[in-house]
Amino acid sequence: MSQQVKVPSVGESITEVTISNWLKKDGDVVKLDEVIAELESDKATFELPAPQAGVLKISKQKGETVPIGTVICEIQGDGKPAEVQPAAQESKPKPAAPAAGSALAKATGAVKEMKVPAVGESITEVTISTWLKKDGDLVKLDEVIAEVESDKATFELPAEATGILRIVAKEKTTLPIGGLICKIEVMEGAGEGSVASAASASTAASVGDANYAAGHPSPAAAKMLDEKGIPASQVSGTGPGGRITKEDAMKTQPAAPEPKTAAATTTAATTGAPAQGSKGERREKMTSLRKTIARRLVAVKNETAMLTTFNEVDMKPVMDLRSKYKESFKEKYGVGLGFMSFFTKAVCAALKEFPAVNASIDKDEVIYHDYCDISIAVSTPRGLVVPVIRNAETLTFAQIESEVVRLATRGRDGKLSIEEMTGGTFSITNGGVFGSMLSTPIINPPQSAILGMHNIVERPVVKNGEIVVRPIMYLALSYDHRIVDGRESVSFLVRVKEMLEDPGRLILGV
């Protein structure tokens, strides 16, 4: 059965959405419930799951804005295992060559090419460390088929389709991001009910060697695992032949400390309506991106001598200037005058004066940069990304603002290339957009410092012996004490403060 996929109604007042991203390509084989696209309305972004398994045929392209109810793609054929009807209730007088052939795992003719995914911002190439599956093996969707390593991390490569594995890159080969790793000759029907193992036919196992069923969940276990969002491949079965028993599935939730409570929770789940005060929890495998982030953040803490210095800025002068020239700036340059240009300019000027803050350590050497490539943190639906404003020291206010807008948009659309996110010499992050009063940002290695902006709050301050109300922002500078001295870091931040409180200094360079 083919199914047309329409833009679902997502909220009362939303009448149209923009297709912000296709996560699957035209012709890809998609699984039931797999997210195939990201849609965006004026209110929110949301994900579009596949309503059935099959081959994706895209009819509306990325970037198009369409009303609710528009068909944006079709999913053809049922990619699910062909169902057999052992006994239709009556024979139908049509020439039915027995529904054979459709019944078992069979090649669909589609070939899924698996390419090196973008695994982290500064990773440009990876090495295939180990193949866990052999060429010609039958692999199941999401099953880990290889281990891949980069200079930063090792990660597991899950199969992107069910089918026969055709290895392209041998072990120890190094591939760029996007390089072809392997192909999978997509099969349908395998994976459920029975593994029609094209492979098992060749690898003659002795009769009674029952481990073909290892990891097969019992019906009750399958339901429970699905509800917990745990793939069966992550559970080791204790049943005969490695089957996953109901008890295995129950125990996979650490919150069920003893069988008694676990049993109680199950009954509640089957009899109770939306249980009150329930203690549901959910386990999800970390994505390799998340794992890389995690590993790197811990590494920064362990491998640098990071500390943070603080200051506060009276934002009134910048704000006055901004409201005075907002209109004419916008008119002339077609981009709004924000705070980022002021901060970037102030930072660039201060970096010139304190080169250690703009430097990085490479083994026994310190690399000083005579340019300022400023990484700016942008939060996107996929997480935080850090694109770089190149040679910010040479840019005008208007150029900086439009660069910020460009990078933020690309970030939100998931279009940033690895290139655009690598090689910054200093970072600026703005926790203020989320309402942060004060925080200690983590430096972005191999950089040596990061400036944290925060929210602007009207506070009573004393000016010339009088208490006045001023818009105040706290600033934080985290730095690597191994190469940046306390005096340098503190003076750097003071310089930034001075220039922001008296923007004339930015022009005169004093």
Partner: protein, 466 residues
Amino acid sequence: MQYNVTVIGSGPGGYVAAIRCAQLGFKTSIIEKYDTLGGTCLNVGCIPSKALLDSSEHFINAKEHFKEHGIDIPDPKVNLSQMIRRKGEVVKANVDGIAFLMKKNKIDVYKGVGSFVDKNTIKITSGDGKETTITSEKVIIATGSKPTALPFAPFDKKRIISSTETLELKEIPKHLIVVGGGVIGMELGSVYARLGAKVSVVEFLDSLIPTMDGTLGKELMKVTKKLGMEFYLGHKVTSVENKGKEVLLKAEPKSGGQPIELKGDYCLVSVGRRPYTEGLGLDKVGIETVKGQIPVDDHLRTKVENIYAIGDVVRGAMLAHKAEEEGVMVAEQLAGQKPHINYLLIPGVVYTWPEVASVGYTEEQLKGAGRAYKTGSFPYKALGRARASMDLDGLVKILADKTTDEILGIHIIGARAADMIAAGVTAMEFRASAEDIARTSHAHPTYMEAVKEACLAATGNRAIHI
């Protein structure tokens, strides 16, 4: 009234869905256009047909087998009206049971034809024309199916009849012609064959119960021939005419050759069932049927986000237990659970005697798919239990993966096959190997030993009792 869930149709799909919804805490209602609940299955399907199958089987035993068992009785006679009356009581007890279950689960029952006004509003028109309107967040369509007629011979319900009339006959036909050698044709045909009618079955394909494993059709033909049933396989029916006191059927062999003419007093047309959606107002919600079926995704959801459909009205085997599983699945999904249905493991059963039951892949499917498999068979004849009861017809056939020994299909024809198949389904749900069953203790003497022996035969040809 406002509901969380409303179910349209009270067959095994609908009433089970309603009960499960109520168990899960939803405020639930069910709509049924007939006076009694239970749908096709309870009123004119599974239950009444089994009632008549059991009665007629008692008769044939009394008539033909008691003597050998050492029971002498005068020639037994059929009291058809009593048989039909008892069947009616069985049906009544069952449908009353459903009414009780609705009450017990606090499900509101509306009698009348349910019809969509919009996706959340349903109008119910009762027999006397009264209209009631209710609203519901979710709707489950379970409107089932109706018998298909031959295009050139509509049911006249007198001579050209469907399964429904066949369950209510006032006399034992002298000659019952059955068009379609599928499950319903074979079940109802054998009822009247046992009661003394001449029964002729005309089937377009070259085997009986053609969707099942070929071995089963062949065996079924053998044993039902003993009842005197006659078969015209590979014959295309070209006309059926009601001639007043008679019905005349013409058919021609598919492969060419002499056309045949059969004269009988009744012609049961059992060539299939079609999904039923009349009066449901699907156009009001923009659902279009495809070959009569309501298209649904893997979650049984229609293209309208709050409307689901289950049972005979959607794709898949037209079986009561399949409808029930789907009812449970939809209800649990609505409560945020993630139930599964393994459609491969929905068993199929024919309640002839001996019974026919199977699950998994047929041998024809495995061959077609080029799968390396092995078989193990065991005949009932070699079974102590079967000798004791004199139910010697039949066999068990196990199909297993040639390499891994995983069971791929279980096909049984023989006494009690319908009940035995459940053990096979369980084994296959756990992906048991043939050797697993072969090494599992089976009580002796039982019919199930035939399954164990067939598994022994499949694993190294080491059946014991043959």
